[in-house]
């Protein structure tokens, strides 16, 4: 893919394309390349954003408004935010950018899509920043898709985003946003998967959390998900915490999503079968092997029971602590038995 293309298709992207398609976009490209099922889609690249920003700047300054701001002056930040978001969402797009998105949408051939921000900065791995980015689900048509892409771009100028960048002294020059557009999975069940234990860091287990409906309910914490711990290698299911899932999120008829209350019987039923858990484990192992390190994964299972991956990123908390030997080395292997027979603490 060329650095100036407005659109990048997943199949053409690799993890190295992150600067132009963002972390989410690059990851989806890499997964596609690794033979993992992801909902098909494309990325509206930072080149498209830059083109738009250039057009905006030609009309009146954007970045110059932000750089002098004091992050503690909430009134000033709010005023600039309001102005810039309105401009990003409403001013004319360069026609070639708009056409590229509409063409790509048509080529995707999906009835409904998800539009998700895909930030390019390293800091985007910081959850506090990632949480500021927008995702729009169940977007109905091309025009709405273009509008949601602009909203994603606009989120760069939210009060929280501006404050965050000013506080951390991030230069406005480097600020760009790619946007993922992909076929929307009307999930029967969705959730997250860590290919190591979040509590002990153990790399020999996989933790899966899931709930009925769209994964947004799990990610946002609106539902207490079912939780399983599975031996990564053996497939043993050592923990089964089946929770009371009082709602599920489903697509709204007019676009977007809506909460739906669940009947009592479904609330307490496991949202995944043992076979499905094993399928997830297999995919988790495959992705981890592909990247060579533990992953933090979002997944969805469609109504037909097909598993699709929505995102995979490296696990960061425990990985930072690795690489200390479990125990001291011994030239004579027999010396190790003293940890059991006493006289030496392991």
């Amino acid at each position: 893919m060329s650095a100036t293309d407005a659109i990048g298709w997943f199949a053409d992207l690799r993890i190295g394309d992150r600067p132009t398609v963002g972390g989410k976009g690059a990851s989806l490209g890499e997964l596609t390349h690794a033979g993992i099922d992801v909902p098909p889609g494309f990325v509206v690249t930072t080149a498209a954003f830059e083109q738009f920003l250039k057009a905006l700047e030609e009309r009146s300054p954007v970045r110059a408004l932000i750089e002098p701001l004091d992050e503690n002056d909430l009134d000033a930040v709010t005023a600039v935010s309001r102005t810039l978001r309105k401009r990003v969402e409403e001013e004319a797009l360069p026609p070639e950018v708009e056409q590229a998105i509409i063409d790509a949408h048509a080529r995707l051939g999906a009835t409904t899509v998800a539009v998700r921000s895909s930030a390019t900065t390293e800091d985007a791995e910081d959850a506090s920043f990632a949480g500021l980015q927008d995702t729009f689900l169940w977007v109905l048509d091309a025009q709405d898709t273009v509008h949601r892409v602009r909203e994603c771009w606009g989120s760069l100028y939210s009060v929280e985003s501006i404050t965050y960048r000013r506080k951390h002294g991030l230069p406005e020059d480097g600020v760009a946003m790619a946007v993922v557009v992909q076929t929307m999975v009307d999930a029967r069940t969705a959730g997250v998967m860590f290919t190591r234990s979040p509590t002990t860091g153990d790399k020999s287990v996989i933790t899966i959390e899931g709930a009925w409906g769209l994964g947004s309910a799990v990610v946002s914490g609106e539902v207490t998900p079912d939780r399983w711990v599975i031996g990564k290698i053996t497939g043993e299911i050592s923990v089964r915490d089946i929770s009371d899932k009082h709602i599920r999120q489903v697509p709204a008829p007019g676009g977007g999503i809506v909460d739906e209350a669940l009947e009592s019987e479904m609330r307490t039923q496991p949202c995944l079968s043992d076979d499905e858990l094993q399928t997830l484990r297999g995919v988790g192992r495959k992705i981890e092997r592909h990247y060579g390190r533990p992953q933090d994964i979002e997944w969805a299972m469609d109504k037909a029971g097909k598993l699709l991956l929505l995102q995979s990123r490296p696990e960061t908390v425990w990985s930072a602590r690795d690489a200390k030997p479990v125990t001291g080395t011994e030239a004579n292997p027999l010396k190790h038995v003293m940890t059991i027979f006493g006289g030496r603490k392991g």
Partner: protein
């Protein structure tokens, strides 16, 4: 753990069940609780002795602890622990470890241990080969002992050969040799055992540090050997099924068959029937010398003494053979799976140092584990069967002379009392007058029978005395799996889990619901119907033949590294072992759910059964 001080009853506070005082007093003086025992911690050895002990069967405890302690204390010189003391109350065996706590003594013992134990590890294969020779010789000696017998008059040969020793002398000679062999067998048993478990546990401990959430089951699968003798009996049953089909005599084997009748029929249906019976004899000696328990009770009879177990399996195996299904253990595949598992976990390690240690430890574990798996066939099964059967012969002789109402009553005597009864009989044969025993033993036997029944209904505290802060006695951790955490669980047993739930070791994963069949003795095996969930006290590989018939297994006793767990995994049979009380809490016919991945058994009772997910 709450701050409130909780503890177990003191030994001195335990009451002998009323009416059983005389039976309690009959146990040897050195097994009675005495002054000073209140200061120590004791736990009920429910793993090896889950039921009240007959007085004779107590010999297993003392022979085993004579040997276990000797090897720990004085042969291998374990640095931090000596032997095991045992006490008996209400027919239950309580045991307490003897820890070494003085740092100087530990230091001195470390030096000794490394000289002695390391020698064993370094020469393991060679010493283990010698061990098998010793065991085979010991078994041959036991087999050579004559059946106790008193002729009316000495045969004329005694005179003509100038033998100079009369038949009654053979009784005491045989009896003492029988006991001597049993005590010796237990020494052999412990010659390697702790060192073997120790090497295994070193690997186990490393895995738990490297992979804090790894299951015990996964570790034992990495270590488990495949060729141990204890798997052979089941393979022999499969062989007999195959031979029955090949010889065309398979139609004789049906569900709920009358075994005696089938054997008689086969003897009359021509050469093929006779040939199959010859095959059966080949299998029986030695492979059917396995008992259905752990060999610690005289009534854990061997397959040879009661063919119910292998015969219950024949129809199922035969139908598989006829349908062209391979029933052999897929050895190459099992070994390949084990190697893959070892490799996959290795790959998850973070550093070269860890991989080096891991390689050292798994290599050592694989070297020593054949003993841990293999010894049971020779010791707990083959030898123990010979031993108890010899005592049964003495029971038969004494019963013929009016000592007991039934031959098996002999097991209500301690081994000292039995010697006295034998001497009594020798004296009476010698003097020509009646023995005194028939006037003494029937009443005592009746008293002890009643005591055993009373003890069985009596609630047993899992432990006694002061709760230690830590349990770092490697022998207790290794052999009984008891840790400070498990004591806390025992202390809170009445508060925690829902009353319809039992927890045990996860032995083989899978969730199954079905009717429980509580099987307390081998005679009940024929009650098992296809799809039942077997609930029993002890399961070991000798139960493997019926695994094809059941949908899950639950046991009172056993750990995740038990043979039972290994066999269950090979059959893909969901299993929970070591629940402590399944045979007491689960009622026959109740619907239960077995979750073999989590080690949980749920009593569903009248709840509707969930359809398969």
């Amino acid at each position: 753990m709450s701050d409130q001080i909780k503890g177990f009853p003191l030994p001195s506070s335990l009451k002998v069940v009323p009416g059983t005082e005389a039976a309690q007093a009959a146990f040897p003086y050195y097994t009675q609780f005495h002054d000073g025992d209140d200061d120590r911690f004791w736990f009920y050895n429910s793993m090896h002795f889950p039921e009240p002990m007959h007085h004779f069967d107590m010999i297993t405890a003392e022979a085993a602890y004579c040997a276990l302690g000797s090897f720990n204390t004085r042969v291998h010189v374990l640095p931090t622990t000596k032997g095991i003391d045992h006490r008996i109350i209400n027919g239950r065996v309580y045991i307490g470890g003897v820890a070494v706590t003085d740092p100087a003594e530990i230091e001195a013992r470390v030096g000794e241990f490394q000289q002695r134990a390391f020698y064993y590890y370094e020469h393991w294969e060679e010493l283990y080969d010698k061990w098998k020779d010793k065991m085979r010789a010991l078994i041959a000696d036991a087999q050579a002992l004559p059946r106790p017998f008193l002729p009316d008059l000495e045969p004329i040969e005694t005179t003509h050969t100038g033998k100079g020793v009369a038949a009654n002398h053979a009784l005491i000679d045989t009896y003492r040799k029988t006991l001597e062999g049993y005590f010796r067998m237990w020494h052999h048993h412990f010659e390697f055992l702790l060192l073997g478990y120790g090497a295994y546990l070193t690997f186990f401990d490393f895995c738990k540090k490297a992979f804090p959430e790894i299951s015990d089951q996964a570790i034992s699968r990495m270590v488990a050997g495949m060729e141990a003798e204890i798997f052979r009996p089941d393979e022999e049953v499969k062989r007999l099924a195959r031979r029955a089909v090949e010889l065309g005599v398979d139609a004789h084997f049906t569900e709920n068959m009358d075994i005696e009748k089938v054997l008689a029929e086969l003897d009359t249906v021509g050469n093929s029937g006779k040939e199959w019976l010859a095959e059966l004899e080949t299998s029986r000696n030695p492979w059917f010398n396995v008992n259905v328990g752990d060999g610690f009770y005289h009534y854990h009879r061997s397959w040879n003494d009661d063919l119910s177990m292998p015969f219950a399996a024949l129809p199922g195996y035969i139908s598989k053979v006829k349908n062209g299904i391979n029933i052999e253990r897929p050895m190459a595949k099992l070994i390949e799976e084990r190697e893959q598992l070892v490799e996959d976990y290795r790959e998850l390690l973070d550093t070269d140092e860890d991989r080096a240690t891991y390689d050292q430890l798994i290599t050592l574990a694989h070297r020593v584990f054949p003993y841990v798996e293999g010894h049971k066939f020779y010791c707990e099964h083959w030898y123990t069967n010979l031993f108890f059967n010899k005592i049964r012969e003495f029971g038969d002789l004494l019963w013929r002379h009016g000592f007991f109402p039934e031959p098996k009553d002999v097991f209500h005597l301690t081994h000292y009392e039995l010697e006295s009864a034998i001497v009594d009989l020798m004296l009476s044969w010698s003097s020509g007058s009646d023995p005194i025993g028939p006037r003494v033993w029937p009443a005592k036997v009746a008293e002890r029978k009643a005591a055993n029944e009373a003890w069985a209904d009596h609630v047993v505290p899992p432990a006694l005395g002061v709760v230690p802060d830590v349990i770092d006695d490697p022998a207790i951790v290794m052999l009984w799996g008891i840790t400070r955490e498990s004591l806390d669980v025992w202390l809170s047993v009445d508060e925690g889990a829902p009353s319809n739930e039992l927890k045990g070791f996860a032995a083989c994963q899978g969730v199954v619901e079905g009717p429980a069949r509580v099987v307390k003795s081998v005679e009940e095996i024929k009650r098992l119907q296809q799809g039942d969930i077997l609930v029993c006290q002890v399961t070991n590989p000798t139960w493997a033949p019926i695994f094809q018939k059941i949908s899950a297994a639950v046991s009172d006793i056993g750990g995740s590294m038990s043979h039972m767990a290994i066999v269950a995994r090979e059959y893909g049979l969901p299993a929970v072992v070591g629940t402590g009380s399944a045979t007491q809490r689960i009622k026959d016919g109740q619907r239960i759910r077995v979750d073999g991945g989590r080690g949980i058994v749920t009593i569903l009772e009248d709840q509707p059964v969930l359809e398969e997910a």
